[in-house]
Point group: C2
């Protein structure tokens, strides 16, 4: 198990060949989108995106357990006035290679990039595509239940988000001041729309992939002790979420600076808190909101 709880430097297409088949319970990742992140990843031309991605996806298929799940965060960019088709072409190609397109979750990004254009509005959502190898897969719906709508609305709306977070981190139980009232509240199952802001304004790292997002899917699709893979690790949000929830992680990134940054963030997320790094325990992570998927938005 030499590859567990480490971040491996290299192209995931090659690195993953060193990982046994059927050894991963969940893959959750946010690959570089076409023509984005040119400085760090070089940028992939939209017309070549599917061809670039498919061999990597074949490796994902190999390492994923039959009961495992692959969650892909992606969004097509605008090319000469049109939404490009590489994402939907990718879905069709992946199905030809054996993947089941089980579901498409909607990530409603509350803070999208600003701007104004004559013929379109700001883009406020991204796709979270769920793929599986079988119709039967591991899923724990009760782990992600949310407080019922009306109550959360009234209690939380009149607190600023700043205050919510501040109180949460102060208390240390994971439940802030008013949030402690959630205990014993009626909970309901969530739906396939996920309301969550990006972590853009964090100074040190600009993780567009907020920790709360992998957290949600890890709770939903794995058990403690399971293994979570992120083949495009970036600043390490998936690893932080996995550790916090007592899961093993495998991280891969082709960029050394990101690997270093992710390792640093992982260390910080552990040493910042008492009882460092023991598996199976839950610690609140600064900036991590509970109930982000609830009706408060």
């Amino acid at each position: 198990m030499h590859y567990l709880n480490k971040i491996l430097l290299g192209d995931c297409e090659e690195v993953l060949k060193g990982i046994p088949e059927n050894s991963v319970d969940l893959i959750v990742t946010s690959p570089p989108y076409a023509d984005q992140r040119q400085q760090t990843y070089g940028g992939i031309c939209p017309t070549k995106y599917v061809a670039w991605f498919l061999p990597k996806v074949d490796q994902f298929y190999r390492v994923l357990k039959p009961t495992g799940t692959f969650v892909l965060n992606i969004k097509e960019r605008v090319v000469s006035g049109e939404r490009h088709t590489y994402v939907i072409e990718l879905i069709l190609e992946m199905r030809r290679r054996g993947w089941l397109w089980t579901e498409e979750f909607m990530w409603h990004k509350k803070n999208s990039y600003p701007g104004k254009w004559p013929n379109r509005f700001r883009d406020n959502w991204e796709r979270l595509l769920q793929f599986n190898k079988q119709k039967k897969f591991q899923m724990h719906q009760e782990e992600v239940m949310v407080p019922v709508g009306t109550w959360a609305k009234h209690r939380l709306v009149n607190l600023s988000d700043t205050d919510k977070i501040r109180d949460e981190s102060r208390v240390g139980s994971g439940f802030g001041k008013n949030v402690s009232n959630w205990v014993g509240r009626r909970k309901v199952y969530p739906n396939n729309v996920i309301h969550m802001a990006t972590e853009s304004s964090n100074q040190n790292h600009s993780a567009v992939f907020p920790v709360a997002l992998p957290t949600w899917f890890i709770k939903l699709f794995t058990s403690p002790g399971d293994t979570v893979l992120d083949p495009f690790m970036g600043s390490g949000s998936t690893a932080i979420a996995a550790l916090k929830l007592g899961r093993n992680y495998i991280g891969v990134d082709i960029n050394k600076q990101y690997v270093d940054l992710a390792n640093q963030r992982i260390n910080n997320s552990q040493t910042r808190l008492p009882g460092v790094g023991e598996r199976g325990k839950r610690y609140p992570v600064k900036g991590q909101k509970e109930g982000v998927h609830s009706e408060t938005y």
Copy 2:
């Protein structure tokens, strides 16, 4: 202009042949989804859905003006555990026939159908696909602006009405809990996520296409006096919205009962109010919410 402001009985594929080309400014419709609404529309097998839809779409293309827009509300159903691919295949086919896939709006249905399944959550969103014939099309962004986020969220919610009035009268200097900022509440452009509840009322129509939805797109993509087409009219939401906004409508439905129901709803929406039926005037419609696309979020 014998075809304006009427609902035509028949298959839109045939009926539209009687309408001149380049005569419609906006097409907004919610066709029967595959295998849904079998009693009323007969149900279309998912594998044949694209072939069933394409000849109709060719007619839409013909009657639409070059600067016009086609808004298609659709969502793929689940077939043997997977999201079916007929929607994304339809997008690819339509592009081959000349349509531009300009944008995909997200309709977040706040009150979705309840239910629980072992391997998926409730489906709370649908696609609103925007297609155009040209990169340049008619669009009036300022017609659908919404109050700025912080305004509705914090300030308004947690103050009682008396507080608001008191502070407002006290202002003068411009500092009464910053209520002065709300006066002439700043408006911002919306984004491509549309938050709107389905029409809960018990119309006999099974498709819940709220009037507010076509209203939003009619404001955005047409001018007063323009013509709006809904080739799957159903219970007539699009016609009601068009009339209220002083636009002409063309409705088509293959089912006589729906044509009758829609005509009845259209009449009600007019006769219920004073100053019946004159074009160009705006009347509030019962149950119609303003600002549904804004931010309680």
